[in-house]
């Protein structure tokens, strides 16, 4: 973490170290300085170090100078600018810096050396001469000659200048920032500094590196981590046989008390017993092993980016790492692994390096680290700070650099400072041996931090300067800072301010997100058949939607199972599904679904990966009491790994985002990717261009608060959506270019650049950025752009297009000075968000590490473009603390660091213990919303799910406006009345008492105590107002055709939301509002309108008179079927039906047919058919009748009665056709053949009745009877049939009443006829 390896001129850290030590020793010695000046070289010559063959790890792309500067100066597209070497050495920065043209690089550089005496030499010729000398010298391998690359010396010299207070710190910072232009007011300073011109750019990286180097003894590996590898623990005691250092008491501290002192003394130098002992304390710190010699092999950049606290736990493999798709994002894990490996090697060497056990006792009295975790941390004492002025000065310069955004990452520096604050012990290093032996306490060559006291002092100094930023951190961090005993000890004043900030901090919540894992609803306007080219496409997509969710559900269920693999588990199914997407139109549909689901699931706070707000209860208890979300978050905390990946974690896909990432990878469909990119780009453009309600300059700040909350909320939703979309766009767009292989170099890189530069960017982010900057909407555009760029491959940032994007971003970054807070400027929190995201971006491994310090030259070109408009979004306070922490969870690392200090100092060590406040005792699995209010909130959310999105927008809009208006209304009525009252009260009180000089504050208090209780009325009135106003507005804005129930619910939700909004504001602010209004004695006289009862939605219901008590058709069919089956047999002897049952059945049939409530056409058809069959059975007397054993037949009269019932049902009750011709089907007529004696009268009766009732025509019956002859019958049956036929034909065509009456009198007539 400590090395800031941005100095292009350094070959390795060891060089840097040694040179730094040298400078510090000699910096103040004039002779030495002069010597250096006489071999000036061109220190800032960018090409010198990378050219050196002795630096194998520095590729041109990784080298700041070689890759960037030549291009900017000569506008040559060629890669490293090597051909320009000589040309550039002669006029290195004329075109880039704003230094007066009279100062040539050579002369100024030379002068800088002689400047030690404040006597600038005017001899330019000498300078140019020495330049040539330098050019020659750079051709030597610098690694072998520590003296030859001099560039490092220069910043050191510059620092020496500042430390000797030749110029003011402010001037220095201004100088660093904008060259000498700004110093024209002070010619003396300008002269001094312009002499140092060539060092200007290198100053900040030098300073940062210097601080990191200096702190390396204090912060060897960051906060405590449990020792894991045996190799590491074996080396725990550091270098027992190494050069003498540490305090005299070190021996006793080296070993746990259990160790016999004698044995310890004897064996101390040997590593083995120590190692054994160390294993007994697995949670102790890993003490540092100096690896400076090996550092030349390490990758400083990744080291710096890597989590400083602990590595991303291996139990949670980073998909970026393990993915076979190799995104090449080499996150911290890998580099940390490398470092561990180095540590191990280094430690294995130690016994050989220090074979001599004769000097185990430390000589010098400086503090020595205690090694066991149980031992107390070294106390820090302000009285023992070694060199206050010096530390103050460095702290001031450093703070100023931070304040002017000269450092790449604000929060990283804060993290570093907090590390210094919470450093536990001082660890001596090799270098410190040298330094300490030289003795000079207050001179330049001594280390900056000589003790923990120095360290803490420095940290507190910087924190004091950075108080403004600190005060905007979350409550938890503020609390921890305020409670930090060291801070209290070193600066009670700062502690007091922090405490005040903590107490005054209001956690502002603007986000209420719907619960995740909802499906995208089906919307007929976009999803029905008309939107597809063919039925097939429609149905294919129907299936795909289901497969997609099936896959999603399975992922939800299983992705946390150990050993479950996305590709193995779901890959083939996904690809099979994608394979079915044949038409382009289907791809479009699927991408829409995918994107919507992505937004729905991942946009919420829960999906963004754990929250970081320390004191969350107040946050969560607001608005709807989202208990569910709270539990979910708690669950996430329990499940999620504790470390957040440090202050600069690599881009990841937390939570649900992982599903979508893996889906894209597994699908590996170029069509899908293309459609997805199209869709994402479109949506990004759309959201980015969204006309967010701009804050209208309001007359009073109070009432607009309500609007602001809404605006913030909307902004947050849009911003988070944009970030999510841009992240995925970046992921997909750069996917083809990323790979596990290292970034290309040399000619390969040239050809790749040539190839890539002609490919248009997937989305014209540069134009969008320029527009955003011009329109003052950087706060919206930049955060998503950063997400997009964070997925860039190694080559992309080298492309001209993206270089210019980065240049713009750098320029923006520099301009976001937090301390400047003038009218029309960007708001503080907006700036802070941009600084955080940009700082994070600059640390992404694929972004060239040198980019930050060396792209400066390009900025001018764009400066004209970025004159922000005065009233853009940037000047509206749209960002609040929660949004900041949601977008930049890594800021929470500050709190973790401080928390680890607390937990560590109380004796517990080994990682960070996150404090979790238990919320409930119920299990996590089942989370039924217990409160009716929570359920109502859910219901309201659910209501919108299947409605068109415009409905939701309308309701939200209405609620938003009515809620806002409500507050205004209350202010205009209730508050105004109270103000009137106050005025009269004021009069009454003043006049009788005659208190001319009566304490107005006291009076106000009296008035308020009388009037403020009336504020409670505001809630009642507010409710009334919302209830009165919202429904009409909703009704006016929704389509006329909206179903009544939907309309009424929408109205009610609007009322509820508006009321909630208004009441939330009122209950929180009414007292303050009344106070303020009373205080200002402002009166308003708007009339209130009388409340009206809200219109209720119409009732919908069944208006039929029928009670629907009829038997169910299914029941009847079943019953009739039973009768039929009994008749058809086989049956047991005791089986049968009673005549009453039959009659009852037919009665029920009548009822059912009358009611029709439950009757569907097929049921009626079957009932009709069954009734006909029943009639046939009756006619043939085939129904087994229960009753006395002798009588198994139905009485004739009963049979007729039943037939009559059937006839009237057929005539009146059935609405569908009745297959009456079946009565005369051979099969049914054939039933008669089995009966002995055959009785035809019922059939004849039936036929006549059919004709009489007009159910069948005579002709129809005749035809049927005629066709019966075609069947084969027994001889006698055929004859009887013929007789029946004739008899029927003999009947008169018109039914005669007498005949019928006669028939009833003579029931046996038919039988006689048949028998005749």
């Amino acid at each position: 973490l400590r090395r800031y390896k941005v100095l292009g001129s350094s070959n390795s850290d060891s060089d840097l170290f040694s040179r730094l030590a040298q400078i510090l020793q000699n910096g103040s010695q004039k002779s030495r300085s002069t010597t250096q000046c006489k071999t000036p070289g061109s220190p800032h010559n960018p090409k010198t170090p990378p050219k050196s063959p002795g630096a194998p790890r520095r590729s041109p792309s990784a080298s700041p100078r070689s890759s960037s500067l030549p291009r900017t100066s000569s506008s040559s597209p060629s890669r490293a600018g090597r051909p320009h070497h000589d040309q550039r050495s002669s006029s290195p920065h004329l075109g880039r810096s704003k230094s007066p043209p009279s100062h040539s690089g050579s002369s100024s550089s030379r002068r800088s050396c002689q400047q030690e005496h404040c006597k600038p030499s005017k001899n330019g010729l000498k300078g140019s001469g020495s330049l040539h000398h330098h050019s020659a010298s750079t051709k030597n391998p610098p690694g072998k000659k520590p003296q030859s690359p001099q560039s490092c010396i220069r910043p050191a010299a510059a620092r020496a200048q500042f430390e000797s207070r030749q110029v003011s710190v402010a001037a220095v910072v201004r100088w660093i920032e904008r060259s000498t232009q700004s110093l024209e007011g002070n010619p003396g300073e300008a002269a001094v500094l312009s002499a140092l011109q060539p060092l200007r750019k290198e100053f900040v990286p030098f300073l940062l590196n210097f601080l990191r180097e200096q702190s390396s003894r204090i912060l060897p590996q960051g906060p405590p981590t449990p020792a894991k590898a045996p190799g590491a623990s074996a080396a725990l005691p550091g270098r027992p046989g190494g050069p003498p250092r540490g305090s005299r008491g070190a021996r006793s501290q080296l070993f746990p008390p259990t160790e016999p002192q004698g044995a310890a003394a004897a064996e101390a130098p040997l590593a083995r017993p120590v190692a054994t002992l160390s294993r007994t304390k697995p949670s102790r710190r890993i003490n540092p092993t100096p690896v400076s010699e090996e550092r030349s092999l390490s990758k400083p950049k990744t080291c710096f980016t890597s989590p400083p606290i602990s590595c991303v736990p291996s139990s949670q493999p980073s998909a970026l790492d393990t993915s076979p798709w190799g995104l090449g994002l080499s996150p911290g894990c890998r580099s940390l692994q490398e470092e561990r490996e180095m540590l191990r090697k280094e430690r294995s060497k130690q016994p050989q390096q220090s074979p001599n056990p004769t000097c185990p006792t430390p000589e010098l009295g400086s503090s020595l680290p205690s090694r066991a975790g149980s031992l107390p941390d070294e106390p820090a004492d302000p009285a023992r700070v070694s060199s206050r002025p010096r530390l103050e000065l460095v702290a001031l310069v450093y703070s100023s650099c931070i304040a002017e955004n000269l450092v790449p990452n604000l929060f990283l520096e804060l993290f570093f400072v907090l590390q210094l604050l919470t450093a536990r012990r001082m660890v001596p290093t090799k270098d410190s041996d040298l330094e300490l032996s030289l003795g000079g306490v207050d001179s330049l060559e001594s280390p900056l931090f000589q003790s923990i006291h120095d360290c803490v002092f420095f940290a507190v100094q910087v924190l004091e300067h950075q108080f403004q930023v600190l005060s905007y951190l979350d409550k938890g961090t503020l609390k921890l800072l305020a409670e930090n005993e060291r801070l209290l000890c070193f600066s009670p004043a700062l502690q007091g301010r922090l405490r005040a900030a903590y107490e005054g901090s209001v956690a502002k919540v603007s986000l209420v997100m719907p619960p995740s894992a909802q499906a995208v609803s089906f919307q007929p306007e976009t999803d029905n058949r008309a939107n597809f080219s063919s039925d097939r496409a429609f149905h294919t997509f129907k299936k795909q939607r289901d497969v997609f969710y099936e896959v999603l559900r399975e992922w939800e269920d299983r992705h946390e199972e150990p050993g479950w693999d996305f590709e193995k588990g779901l890959g083939s199914r996904i690809r099979a599904m994608m394979g079915q997407l044949s038409t382009a139109c289907s791809h479009g549909h699927f991408v829409r679904l995918f994107q919507k689901q992505l937004l729905q699931m991942c946009q919420s706070l829960g999906g963004a990966g754990g929250t970081v707000l320390g004191e969350a209860p107040d946050v969560l208890s607001m608005l709807g009491a989202d208990k569910l979300g709270r539990l979910r978050r708690l669950q996430e905390r329990l499940v999620a790994p504790q470390s957040g990946g440090g202050p600069c974690p690599p881009p990841t896909f937390p939570g649900c985002q992982g599903f979508f990432r893996d889906f894209i990878l597994s699908a590996s469909s170029f069509q899908f990717n293309q459609h997805l990119m199209d869709s994402l780009s479109l949506k990004i453009r759309e959201l980015n261009g969204l006309a967010l309600p701009q804050h209208e300059p309001s007359d009073e700040d109070g009432e607009s608060d309500v609007d602001w909350q809404g605006e913030r909320r909307q902004f947050a939703v849009v911003l988070l959506s944009l970030r999510l979309l841009a992240k995925f766009l970046g992921f997909v767009a750069f996917l083809p270019y990323r790979g596990p292989e290292p970034p290309p170099t040399g000619e390969l890189q040239d050809s790749i650049l040539a190839l890539r530069s002609q490919v248009p960017p997937v989305l014209d982010v540069r134009t969008l950025l320029q527009q955003g900057l011009r329109a003052g909407r950087a706060v919206l555009t930049v955060p998503w752009l950063v997400e997009f760029l964070s997925f860039a491959d190694h080559v992309a940032p080298l492309l001209d297009y993206y270089r210019s994007v980065f240049a713009l971003l750098l320029h923006l970054h520099r301009s976001l000075v937090l301390s400047q807070d003038s009218e029309g400027e960007m708001c503080f929190m907006n700036k802070l968000l941009l600084l955080a995201v940009l700082g994070w971006l600059f640390q992404i491994p694929t972004i060239p590490e040198d980019l930050f310090f060396l792209e400066e030259g390009q900025l001018d070109a764009f400066e004209a473009d970025t004159v922000a408009s005065e009233h853009g979004l940037d000047s509206v306070p749209v960002v609040d603390q929660q949004l900041l922490y949601t977008c930049c969870p890594y800021i929470g690392e500050l709190r973790k660091l401080l928390a680890s200090w607390v937990s560590g100092s109380s004796g517990r060590s080994g990682g960070f213990v996150r404090k979790i406040t238990p919320t409930t005792t119920t299990g996590l699995g089942a989370q039924p919303p217990q409160t009716s209010q929570g359920l109502q909130t859910q219901l309201a959310q659910a209501f919108f799910h299947n409605q068109p999105p415009s409905l939701r927008r309308t309701v939200e809009f209405v609620a938003e406006r009515i809620g806002s208006n409500c507050v205004k209304h209350i202010k205009a009525t209730l508050v105004a009345d109270l103000v009137h009252k106050a005025e009269s009260l004021l009069q009454e009180q003043l006049v009788p008492q005659g208190q001319e000089e009566g304490d107005p504050v006291q009076l106000l208090e009296i008035l308020c105590s009388q009037l403020c209780p009336h504020g409670t009325q505001a809630l009642t009135q507010g409710r009334e107002f919302c209830q009165r106003k919202s429904p009409g507005a909703v009704r006016a804005l929704l389509p006329e055709e909206t179903p009544a129930a939907v309309l009424s619910s929408a109205e009610n939700i609007a009322v509820g939301l508006a009321t909630e909004k208004a009441c939330a504001w009122l209950s929180a602010n009414i007292t303050a509002l009344i106070r303020r209004e009373v205080k200002a004695a402002v009166s308003r006289t708007l009339r209130a309108q009388g409340p009206e009862p809200a219109a209720r939605g119409e009732r919908r219901g069944c208006s039929r008179a029928c009670e629907h008590h009829a038997p169910l058709p299914s029941h009847l069919i079943s019953e009739i079927k039973d009768v039929l089956s009994l008749a058809a047999g086989p049956r047991d002897p005791d089986e049968g039906v009673s005549p009453e049952h039959l009659e009852h059945l037919l009665g029920q049939l009548g009822q059912t047919l009358q009611c029709r409530q439950f009757l569907c056409p097929p049921a009626e058809q079957h009932l009709a058919k069954c009734s006909v069959e029943l009639a046939s059975l009756l006619v043939a007397d085939q129904i087994p009748i229960l009753g006395p054993p002798a009588q198994h037949r139905l009485e004739r009269g009963q049979a007729r009665r039943l037939l009559h019932m059937l006839l009237s049902l057929w005539k009146d009750a059935f609405q569908g056709p009745v297959p009456l011709q079946l009565l005369l089907s051979p099969r049914n007529v054939g039933l008669l053949a089995d009966t002995r004696p055959r009785e035809w009268d019922l059939l004849l009766f039936l036929l006549r009745e059919l004709v009489e009732k007009g159910l069948m025509g005579r002709m129809e019956i005749e035809t049927c009877l005629g066709s019966l002859h075609e069947a084969q019958w027994p001889g006698d049956f055929s004859e009887e049939l013929t007789t029946l036929f004739n008899l029927f034909l003999a009947e008169p065509h018109l039914p005669e009443p007498q005949l019928r009456a006669c028939e009833l009198v003579q029931p046996n007539r038919g039988t006689l006829l048949a028998q005749s």
Partner: protein, 281 residues
């Protein structure tokens, strides 16, 4: 009637190889007097269908068909009025209606020039009087009216039951003043998957949000429930969010495990419906 898996298994155990006849049902009711008849019938029917699905293939081998047909011919030659086909079905453990279809197909193959179409067969099964052979017509008819698990009549009863419960549900929704879109309306709007009812305004049942309600006039056993989940319920969830399934004849308790995921099971219309409050927060 919500049964535990154990209770269900006990019932299912008793149903093994019971023919789907009137008599079997009567015995079953006596065996489990405490269970509702409709539930028992539904379970029986489902178990029997599972059984048939498992054994279907073996009755459709050429050899089997020939052997059945021959036995039928022999039987009716011996006595045309005897329940030959029904007894044959029971004997070989096959559904009478399906046996009737099998023999009818075989018969028509023999007597017609062209192989009979499915619709012809179905039509003849619905109305056996269309069967050219009177004896076969009677045999088929007997099979159909005696089969309580298969056949056009049973199909119609099942359909009617389903329809009736939808109507009942609709009435209950209207009674509760819950507005909804029904299947037909949804189809008209072009929805690709249509539950019985989509609530225009969601409600909460036992703390769970309900967007749609599906009525199932059957018992929810594992097999049918999984099929429904795959073909219907999840599809509804995918489009409309969480919903409610009412198994009017009960279900296996253990299947109600997707409540958190958005599929709630009930055996009756819920009594404690929380609607979106019309009162103000």
């Amino acid at each position: 009637m919500i049964l535990t898996k154990a209770q269900y298994d006990e019932i299912a155990q008793c149903l093994v190889s019971v023919p789907p006849t009137r008599q079997s049902l009567r015995k079953l009711k006596q065996r489990f007097p405490s269970q509702s008849q409709a539930t028992l019938l539904s379970i029986f029917s489902q178990e029997y269908q599972k059984h048939i699905k498992r054994t279907h293939a073996k009755h459709h081998t050429l050899e089997a068909i020939e052997s059945y047909y021959q036995r039928y011919l022999d039987g009716v030659a011996n006595n045309g009025a005897a329940p030959v086909l029904l007894e044959l079905a029971n004997e070989v453990d096959y559904a009478p209606s399906l046996m009737a279809r099998l023999i009818l197909e075989r018969f028509l193959q023999e007597h017609e020039e062209t192989p009979p179409s499915k619709s012809v067969i179905n039509s003849m099964l619905r109305d056996p009087s269309q069967i050219p052979d009177g004896v076969l017509a009677n045999q088929v008819y007997q099979c159909i009216v005696n089969d309580c698990c298969y056949g056009p009549l049973v199909d119609c009863i099942k359909h009617a039951i389903g329809h009736e419960h939808e109507v009942m549900l609709r009435d209950l929704l209207l009674e509760k003043n819950l507005s909804f879109l029904d299947e037909d309306q949804l189809r008209a709007k072009g929805y690709d998957k249509t539950p019985d009812f989509i609530l225009q305004v969601p409600v909460a049942v036992e703390g769970h949000i309900i967007h749609w309600i599906e009525s199932k006039a059957s018992f929810g056993d594992e097999c049918s429930h999984h099929a429904y989940l795959h073909d219907q319920f999840w599809s509804y969830w995918n489009r409309f969010g969480p919903g409610l399934v009412i198994y009017w004849y009960g279900f296996i308790q253990e299947l109600d495990c997707n409540r958190e995921r958005g599929i709630l099971l009930k055996a009756c219309f819920p009594t404690d419906i929380v609607t979106l409050c019309h009162s103000i927060a």
